[in-house]
């Protein structure tokens, strides 16, 4: 009986000794896993980022640079400025650009990859930089050049949301018509929201 107690006690002592070690090592494992996880997430995020920069961003920068270079160097920019600057520096002009881009037949054509919006954005940006367009018009201009956003993508976008064919049938015209109302509305909203933007300069 006594031996069994002794055995028990020694057994306990042995297990408690090993459990301290076990606890320590499990804590170490947990810390190691957590640190590894954090590092892994950050590293993967960095990998994704560099991938996006090389695949999407730098190619577009190259494309934009060629256009901007040509437009500025040939003096085409000044010609464009005479045409675009008066349009882009008044609410009426911006609304005209916006309504044009939101016409239900044109908007899906202007949509793909937002290429048109990006090129027009770059052109307007250079004009703002050159002082032809007042900087506070940047905000309404951002909405004026972009009422067609996603208009090329409606069926795909709806399919991603697992929509029925009947929904797509009604949804495509619904979005296109909605843009005719909400596009100009967005420009007006942005126009009023731009009060006080860069006005001190």
């Amino acid at each position: 009986m006594s031996t069994s107690v002794e055995e028990k006690s020694t057994g306990n002592a042995g297990s408690s000794g090993s459990s301290v070690l076990g606890k320590a090592s499990s804590v170490l494992v947990r810390v190691g896993k957590a640190v590894g996880g954090v590092v892994g997430v950050l590293y993967q995020a960095g990998r994704d980022t560099i991938d996006t920069v090389i695949r999407n961003i730098i190619p577009f920068m190259a494309f934009v640079s060629v256009i901007v270079g040509i437009v500025n160097y040939t003096g085409l920019g000044n010609v464009l400025a005479n045409f675009v600057a008066p349009l882009a520096s008044s609410l009426i002009g911006l609304l005209a650009i916006c309504i044009f881009c939101a016409i239900p037949i044109l908007s899906p054509v202007l949509g793909p990859g937002a290429v048109i919006a990006q090129v027009v954005g770059v052109l307007l940006g250079t004009r703002i930089g050159a002082g032809d367009i007042p900087p506070q018009y940047a905000l309404p201009a951002l909405f004026a050049i972009n009422p067609q956003v996603g208009c090329d993508f409606i069926p795909v976008g709806l399919a991603l949301g697992e929509a029925e064919p009947e929904t797509v049938e009604a949804g495509v015209p619904a979005v296109l018509f909605s843009r005719l109302i909400t596009g100009p509305l967005a420009v007006v909203l942005a126009y009023f929201a731009s009060f006080g933007l860069y006005s001190s300069t």
Binding site: G161, A170, I181
Partner: protein, 200 residues
């Protein structure tokens, strides 16, 4: 008179046939040099900040996990006026932030059919206003914002104000867009079912 190496040599412009060629070549190279200067400006001015920001936000999105925002999808499906801001403001903003373009549209699957076009409209309209502060959401279409923002930078003005206002106005616009599109969709759906009924 001594001619120092530091002085600019005032050679005459080349004339004649080779002169024309030389000028043409200079002009041709200048055309692309202007583009190259612009490219360097973009690389140095935008890319470093962008890389750090994208990495941080990508890590954050991974850490939080996408499945947590699916709860909002189920909430957004409820009828009633108090759920409009959830459906056309909170859900699109969260989906665009966490799922990014184009996967954000998959959140529409939690909604009833009649809300799907409006949700799509709302979400797709947010992929550009978010760019000013969170470019990770739509890096392929960065220049919608950066193109215009570059002009502001050229003027030596700060971008923060523009970015925040773009985001806030964008939020108001997607809410309005969602509501308007929902109304139009309801009408079109009703008309389509009527015509189908008449045909049958």
């Amino acid at each position: 008179m001594y001619v120092l190496a530091a002085e600019t040599p005032n050679a005459e412009d080349p004339t004649g046939f080779f002169g024309v060629l030389a000028h043409a070549a200079e002009w041709f190279i200048g055309l692309f040099q202007a583009g190259a200067d612009n490219f360097v400006g973009l690389l140095v001015g935008i890319i470093p900040l962008l890389i750090v920001l994208l990495t941080a936000v990508n890590a954050l999105v991974r850490a939080i996990g996408i499945e947590r925002i699916e709860r909002f999808g189920e909430m957004a499906a409820r009828p009633g006026i108090q759920w409009y801001p959830v459906r056309y403001l909170l859900l699109p903003v969260l989906s665009v932030f966490f799922l990014t373009n184009p996967m954000c549209y998959t959140m529409g699957r939690f909604l009833p059919e009649k809300y799907k076009p409006a949700f799509y409209d709302s979400a797709v309209s947010f992929v550009h206003p978010i760019l000013g502060l969170f470019p990770h959401a739509n890096p392929g279409e960065l220049f919608v914002y950066y193109g215009i923002a570059a002009g502001i930078t050229t003027l030596g003005l700060g971008l923060g104000d523009l970015a925040v206002r773009f985001l806030l106005v964008g939020m108001v616009v997607i809410l309005i867009r969602g509501i308007v599109t929902e109304l139009i969709t309801a009408r079109l759906l009703a008309r389509n079912t009527r015509t189908e009924g008449a045909l049958a």
